[in-house]
């Protein structure tokens, strides 16, 4: 019997009432009396020397209030990288300054070198066009291989385009090389993990406000983590004391990673607000989103898999070039390293893993974490090379995976890439996938497709990822410059309803529905009496926000801990009210009772007593009922899954249609299965988008050719099948109180190789000897591959 409330209930999302009725309050919806508008002057060349910027004509135009250039921020700090990565030789990565506005050089198309503040957006746009910038175009550095060989640099001061040359695990390098040299069979695959534009539906927007009376700043901004943004602005960029800066991220229309990061526009509107004493708003248009939001993926990889005669995996060796773009975005150095290399053992008992990653500066937009962040890259490389290996040795691809899976009795399992997996059962997921996908009837479906002149293929994938980011102690050792705990404050109001202030930020995840299900279950009260407060640094405890599928596993755990404190205190109050000992108080269905008696008080009565403490034991218990907890996880969580996909390929045109897509995931315990299913759906859409249609293309001059929806393909509803989603085979996480893992990124991690494997299977079934096609597998690419086979 499904529950209708609390943990496990498919409660409808309460936030959808406002979103679906047009009553969401997004940053751009905020209108302040006397606000003015900022518009940026952005580079039209990928690499250029700023010789002069003449703003005099622009400054004289109607409505113009101020024009700021890089010169105005020359003394202001840079926007830092959040992780320090050391190269194999022990030297630290290169960290060129990322200024608020470009100064001296522009380094990618869209790089802002000036901003006009005017009474209206229209006036500011007009004035931007009147800025006379003399920018000498320099040869663009676009291709990563060329960048590493070039004698001119994105950042002249570091004298190289290589940010770092990282090895993981460096001590395993020689042994891995040896294993590959001596192996019975080695499968090699070179592949590209295509660059993606996040394409949140809501473009970025920032509003700066300054009160000269109190010297306080308020920044409304499209952020996934307002406290992190405040910390970066305060501690690194502008030096505004944290207690003088409030950052508010109201409703945010999708982030997918791109709104984790602090961007220069946020600092600029604050600086302009102070300079002018006016509220300054900037809203990106879609072109700016394409040009300046941090992009995702963009790896070029060679992977080798060594096997013995029986198909046992002996070693994986990976060489990757990872594009970081023109500047280091906040998590850009962690994504291709510790969020990628540490996953390169996959679900397998392989004894040796070695990963080499060279991060490369290019004259392109910064690249950073995007839904999955490093783990899709790892899974793609592994699951493609395993599929290729299965074909080479003539073994069924599922059998080859099963042969090498970590088995249920091996947990906790120390992977060859340095992580400790806490729980899982990959064979059980594969069994369930084969069942719910009706794999047994695949051959019959293939015949039906053949009768229509179409090639049907079956592709499979097994993934593991590390999320619930992250244990601070561990990531500190690995180079993180921040802690990755989260925090929650549970405030019981006098009338018995609750406000729960959380550090996580909901921009599609459904926290406003899910967190009350947890608290309601623990207290035995109606979740509808509990509201979540998030996104405002003046209201919430210091949390690290939402990314890395961390909200429930980390912030949800903090919510549990704070609620436990509430229960403990409430029991004391109840014991006093019932004239009993706290140890004898039981809480059930929202009622505190004395064990073995019929004496009881309700949760509401206890709440009222806490705030109207008449006849209250003030020497033992403080008034009020409000508790805060910080939670720092002991380990990552390790969701895993078995996915399969069936495609039909039109051999005449190369057009691929995904006919069936099945995702069986182990998310541990599930709080709201409907929300989880929705998260998987979204991830699958983005993963299939990456596999089939999405691609970010710069030409050799660094011009972004795919800079609008006329040329950048987003997956649409009719590109996608109805999904089979199953999360019934969860193995609870062993180290967080809810036993939850994390579901936000799984679909985007698991689906790309599944789709590619299916297309390769389809082509092979049609007698085409195609072993690999790079994503996106557009009709043109598939047709070309078939014709070159």
């Amino acid at each position: 019997m499904p529950k209708d409330t609390g943990i496990g209930a498919a409660t409808k999302r309460r936030e959808d009432v406002r979103f679906l009725t047009g009553r969401g309050q997004y940053t751009d919806d905020i209108q302040t009396q006397g606000e003015c508008a900022a518009v940026f002057a952005r580079s039209t060349v990928a690499n250029g020397k700023i010789k002069s910027i003449d703003t005099s004509a622009a400054a004289a135009m109607p409505g113009v209030l101020a024009i700021l250039t890089g010169e105005d921020f020359a003394e202001v700090g840079g926007n830092p990288a959040g992780w320090l990565i050391n190269s194999r030789d022990g030297t630290p990565m290169h960290e060129p300054k990322r200024p608020v506005l470009a100064h001296g050089k522009v380094r990618h198309v869209g790089d802002a070198y000036a901003a006009v503040i005017a009474e209206t957006v229209q006036q500011a746009r007009d004035a931007v066009e009147a800025i006379e910038a003399d920018i000498e175009e320099l040869p663009a550095i676009v291709d990563m291989k060329d960048a590493l060989a070039a004698d001119h640099y994105v950042h002249d001061e570091i004298g190289t385009n290589q940010c770092f040359d990282w090895g993981w695990i460096e001590d395993n390098r020689a042994a891995t090389d040896e294993a590959i040299k001596n192996a019975h069979h080695v499968t090699t695959l070179e592949l590209v993990n295509n660059r993606l534009v996040p394409n949140a539906m809501e473009p970025r927007c920032s509003i700066g406000h300054y009160n000269p009376g109190t010297d306080e700043y308020i920044l409304h901004t499209t952020s996934q983590n307002p406290h992190l943004t405040r910390l970066l602005i305060s501690a690194f960029v502008m030096g505004i004391p944290e207690n003088k800066l409030t950052v508010i991220a109201p409703d945010v229309g999708g982030g997918f990673g791109s709104k984790i990061y602090h961007y220069g526009e946020e600092a600029l509107v604050l600086a302009a607000a102070k300079k002018l004493g006016r509220t300054v708003k900037w809203t990106a248009d879609r072109t700016e989103a394409f040009l300046t939001d941090a992009h995702g993926r963009d790896h070029v990889t060679k992977i080798e898999l060594a096997m013995d005669e029986e198909g046992n995996f002996l070693a994986f060796r990976t060489e990757t070039m990872a594009n970081v773009g023109a500047y280091l975005s906040n998590f850009s150095t962690a994504t291709p390293t510790f969020l990628h290399g540490t996953l390169m053992a996959g679900n397998y008992t392989v004894p040796l893993v070695y990963v080499n990653v060279k991060a490369v500066f290019t004259n392109t937009a910064p690249v950073d974490a995007y839904r999955g962040a490093g783990r899709p890259e790892a899974t793609y490389s592994l699951e493609r090379v395993i599929d290729k290996a299965a074909r080479e040795i003539g073994m069924d691809p599922i059998e080859l995976r099963r042969k090498n899976f970590v088995k249920p009795d091996q947990y906790p399992f120390a992977s060859a890439a340095g992580l400790e997996y806490d729980s899982g059962n990959y064979d059980a997921l594969m069994d369930q996938m084969e069942k719910v996908a009706d794999k047994a009837a695949f051959e019959a479906r293939r015949k039906e497709s053949e009768a229509k002149g179409l090639l049907r293929g079956f592709g499979v994938n097994a993934y593991i990822e590390a999320c619930g980011i992250a244990p601070s102690n561990l990531v500190g050792v690995l180079g993180s410059r921040v802690g990755l705990y989260d925090a929650a404050t549970v405030r019981v109001n006098a009338t018995g309803n609750l406000s729960v202030m959380v550090g996580a930020h909901s921009h599609g995840q459904g926290h406003e529905t899910v967190f009350p299900q947890v608290v309601g279950e623990m207290l035995g009260i109606d979740p509808q009496s509990i509201d979540i407060v998030h996104g405002d640094t003046s209201k919430i405890p210091f949390g690290m926000g939402t990314y890395g599928s961390r909200s429930l596993a980390v912030c949800g755990s903090a919510v549990v801990r704070a609620t436990e404190k509430i229960i403990n205190k409430a029991k004391k109050i109840a014991a006093h009210m019932l004239e009993a000992s706290d140890a004898d108080i039981e809480l059930k269905d929202g009622v505190f009772s004395v064990a073995g008696t019929d004496k009881s008080v309700s949760f509401g009565e206890v709440a009222l007593k806490a705030y109207i403490p008449h006849n209250f034991p003030l020497e033992d218990i403080e008034p009020g009922l409000e508790e805060t907890a910080f939670y720092d996880p002991a380990n990552f969580t390790y969701p895993s899954g078995a996915y399969c996909c069936e495609v039909e390929v039109d051999p005449e045109t190369g057009k691929v249609r995904v006919d069936r897509m099945t995702a069986v995931d182990d998310f541990g315990n599930v709080i709201n299965p409907m929300v989880v299913t929705g998260q998987v759906h979204g991830g699958l859409g983005q993963g299939i988008g990456q596999a089939l249609v999405e691609n970010t293309t710069y030409d050799e001059n660094g011009q972004l050719l795919s800079a609008s929806y006329m040329d950048y393909t987003m997956p649409r509803a009719d590109d996608l099948p109805f999904y089979i989603v199953d999360h019934s085979k969860g193995n609870p996480c062993t180290h967080n109180p809810l036993g939850v893992k994390g579901c936000g990124e799984a679909g985007a991690i698991g689906s790309p190789p599944t789709v590619v494997n299916a297309v390769i299977d389809a082509l092979q079934s049609g007698g085409k000897n195609v072993t690999h096609i790079d994503m996106p597998m557009t009709p043109h690419r598939v047709w070309s591959a078939m014709n070159n086979a």
Binding site: R125, E652, T653, N695, M710, D711, T778, P779, S784
Partner: protein
């Protein structure tokens, strides 16, 4: 977008007069022009909206022809032409998305002559007549290359007249991002022969494939073009497909159109 004035004439005569002003620009459904203005890629001082000109609205059948007013939306064509000319209705029903179809007009599409638009293939493939405020122009004379037509400054497409074929079909292989035609082929069979018009493929814009027309006029069957090949020389090569791929698709889509023609 830059500031502009807008006029909303109610008659063709008033529209023509309004377009006489310096820098004036006709506005059909705005599905190309408005995005262009938003990008500040055009700066007309005055827009003359044709959507209120009632004599340019609607669909009428007349002696084996179907006449569609220049300001008629794709959605109207999709819903009203199906009984008479199903291939044309089907084409209109698959242009863009519902918002585009309820704003965009046939006159706007033909005047713009985007090399990947659908309507030029229908007009050329049907041997339609483009009717303006000044004259009647045969489709074969009207299309003069990418974004180029026989229209003179200030000339307005008031209607388009399509001879109704015995059977016809349009096959569009979409460019995945824009969903314009990567290659679109319109095949129409008339008593005096077959016309084949290709959009999306060529640097010269919409054009006829005369070898296929000859073959299909002799035998109207997909096999009739089996021995033909399409030269890739003047075809478009871009992010979404090479010239060779487009050449291949022209033949595939032509065969499919012949098979599907009704």
């Amino acid at each position: 977008m830059y500031a502009f004035d807008i006029e909303r004439p109610a008659s063709v005569a008033d529209a023509v007069a309004a377009l006489g002003a310096e820098d004036a620009q006709a506005l059909g459904g705005g599905q190309t022009l408005i995005p262009t203005l938003k990008q500040r890629l055009a700066a007309p001082s005055r827009l003359v909206s044709l959507s209120g000109v009632t004599e340019m609205q609607g669909v009428a059948s007349e002696a084996g022809n179907i006449r569609i007013g220049g300001a008629t939306t794709h959605a109207t064509v999709a819903s009203q032409v199906g009984g008479t000319y199903p291939a044309l209705a089907d084409l209109a029903a698959n242009i863009g998305d519902p918002a585009v179809r309820n704003r965009g007009t046939i006159g706007g599409s033909l005047a713009n002559n985007d090399p990947a638009a659908c309507y030029p293939a229908a007009a050329l493939g049907s041997g339609a007549t483009i009717i303006t405020n000044k004259r009647q122009i045969a489709a074969d004379d009207y299309f003069q290359g990418m974004f180029t037509t026989a229209l003179e400054e200030g000339e307005i497409i008031t209607a388009v007249s399509f001879p109704v074929p015995e059977k016809a079909n349009y096959q569009k292989f979409v460019q995945p991002a824009s969903r314009f035609a990567l290659v679109g082929v319109f095949v129409a069979k008339y008593s005096d022969g077959v016309r084949v018009a290709v959009t999306g493929a060529s640097n010269e814009g919409v054009h006829r494939w005369s070898a296929a027309e000859d073959a299909l006029s002799a035998i109207f069957a997909a096999d009739a073009i089996a021995g033909l090949s399409v030269a890739a020389d003047d075809l478009i090569s871009d992010l979404h497909g090479s010239a060779d791929y487009r050449a291949h698709l022209v033949k595939v889509m032509t065969g499919r159109a012949v098979k599907a023609a009704s």
